[in-house]
């Protein structure tokens, strides 16, 4: 084994991959939520559709999207590998455990929370990402240029209250996952210092509330709009 594979297959190396892919996905969330805020513009989806076309055709964004796919797959695969190794480290559990007195529930259930987020992600990708890339979307024209009308299917989807509920609930789980994951990623990288750790912890708390709340507000807003 070379030193690279040896490092990446060590317990610390595996956690390093979890941390780096997690941090990349956190950055992705910032971009995703910022871009999607265009759903709130009252222009019948023009800005959103132009943005959607840019995001699926621009070469730089394309490269970035492949990195995102790798990050998601890496995060999932390594979480499975570490979880299996961790389970093997304690095959016989305790009869009585008072883990709630020494650690946060979210920190002990990242795998469960992550699985729920992953299931949501599959539903989410199938509904919009797949449709945008390979689906039969209606086409609109702005200034003589053709655009896929992704906005129309987003609008149509979120007129359905059950789907809105699914998205809102999924964002709660994403928030719980981030509430531990954000600060944890920095600790794994070895970035723990009294100068900036309190700021990281604070930022993590704010991030895990604000970003999922912004995401959740989009289906809610579109649902309310659909009622008029």
């Amino acid at each position: 084994m070379s030193w690279v594979t040896k490092t990446l297959s060590s317990s610390l190396g595996k956690k390093l991959i979890m941390s780096l892919t997690g941090l990349f996905l956190i950055i992705f969330l910032v971009g995703h939520v910022t871009g999607n805020l265009q759903l709130f513009i009252n222009d019948d989806g023009q800005a959103f559709n132009i943005y959607a076309k840019f995001m699926t055709t621009n070469p730089a964004v394309k490269i970035l999207s492949y990195v995102t796919y790798i990050a998601i797959i890496g995060h999932v695969v390594y979480s499975i590998i570490t979880t299996l190794a961790n389970k093997k480290a304690r095959p016989i559990g305790y009869q009585t455990s008072r883990a709630s007195t020494n650690s946060a529930w979210t920190s002990r259930n990242m795998g469960v929370l992550g699985t729920i987020v992953l299931i949501f992600l599959v539903v989410h990708l199938q509904g919009f990402w797949y449709e945008m890339h390979w689906g039969n979307l209606p086409v609109v024209q702005y200034d003589g240029e053709e655009y896929k009308d992704l906005y129309s299917i987003v609008k149509f989807a979120f007129a359905e209250p059950l789907l809105v509920l699914l998205y809102v609930v999924a964002m709660v789980f994403l928030g719980l996952h981030l509430s531990h994951g954000f600060a944890s990623a920095f600790q794994t990288l070895g970035l723990n210092h009294k100068k900036y750790t309190p700021a990281i912890v604070f930022l993590g708390r704010v991030f895990s509330v604000v970003v999922p709340a912004l995401f959740a507000s989009m289906p809610i807003y579109l649902y309310i709009s659909s009622l008029n």
Binding site: S10, S11, A85, N86, G93, T96, A99, S103, G190
Partner: protein, 249 residues
């Protein structure tokens, strides 16, 4: 006070083991937890039964020999070692469940006794300084800032009891290993083997079958010596910088 004890009994490493209930009466609240177990064992010995095996040595909270997972927490309800836990932390009539540390790397030898040699092998892998530091006056001639000395000492207070492993949902030994890595990485005497040390100790830790760190903080919360998880962050820094700069290809 009278208590019901639910104790893990296991004849040897290959035995399946099971919980067995015992009653102890007239226990003084000033007794230590281990003295209470001594009372039980005297009862068992008088009846000709096999006494409950448990680890202990100094009974002063400094050797790290005592273990015991009491009522769902390593070393019981107080943040101290089992030997320094007193019966005043329990209620009359309480059911007290006593289990061994649970980890693949800490196999049960008998009843509540586990084999913690894995920790010794991790220390053997790199938890030492090979340079001759001479006698005490020589050591004192090496200038070490008070702040660094204090930090190294805080890490060095780890007694290697294994409560961190017992508390961690992944049975991870990272708090222990990081305390030992930190203690030597902070001091000038530890610099010579600094990179090799962390690489070897982490590698041995993995080979022993301990889990990875999920940063739950359970280890720090349960550590009788209050070792901080900042040590784990330091070990990660030490490890990642060592693997990219050391000579080991």
């Amino acid at each position: 006070m009278n208590l019901t004890l639910k104790i893990w009994r296991q004849k040897n490493n290959s035995d399946k083991g099971a919980f067995k209930e015992y009653k102890v009466e007239h226990i003084s609240k000033d007794m230590s937890f281990l003295e209470m177990l001594d009372v039980l064992n005297e009862q068992l010995a008088n009846k000709g039964e096999d006494p409950v095996h448990f680890d202990h040595d100094c009974r002063e909270g400094i050797c790290g020999m005592c273990s015991l997972y009491i009522n769902g927490k390593p070393h019981g309800p107080e943040q101290t070692t089992t030997c320094q836990l007193h019966m005043r932390s329990f209620q009359d009539g309480e059911v007290v469940t006593i289990e061994p540390w649970r980890a693949t790397a800490f196999p049960v030898l008998k009843d509540l006794v586990v084999n913690r040699s894995a920790f010794d092998r991790i220390i053997q892998a790199g938890g030492y300084v090979s340079v001759n530091t001479g006698g005490v006056p020589d050591a004192n001639e090496i200038p070490i800032p008070k702040k660094i000395a204090d930090e190294a000492f805080d890490s060095a207070t780890c007694i290697g009891c294994g409560a961190c492993v017992a508390a961690c949902k992944n049975a991870s030994a990272m708090l222990f290993v990081s305390a030992k890595v930190s203690q030597l990485a902070l001091l000038p005497q530890g610099q010579v083997e600094r990179k090799e040390r962390v690489e070897r100790m982490v590698s041995q830790m993995d080979a022993e079958g301990f889990g990875a760190c999920s940063n739950t903080g359970a280890c720090e919360a349960e550590c009788p010596k209050g070792i901080s998880v900042t040590n784990i962050a330091r070990m990660n820094r030490e490890y990642f910088s060592a693997v990219v700069t050391s000579d080991n290809i």
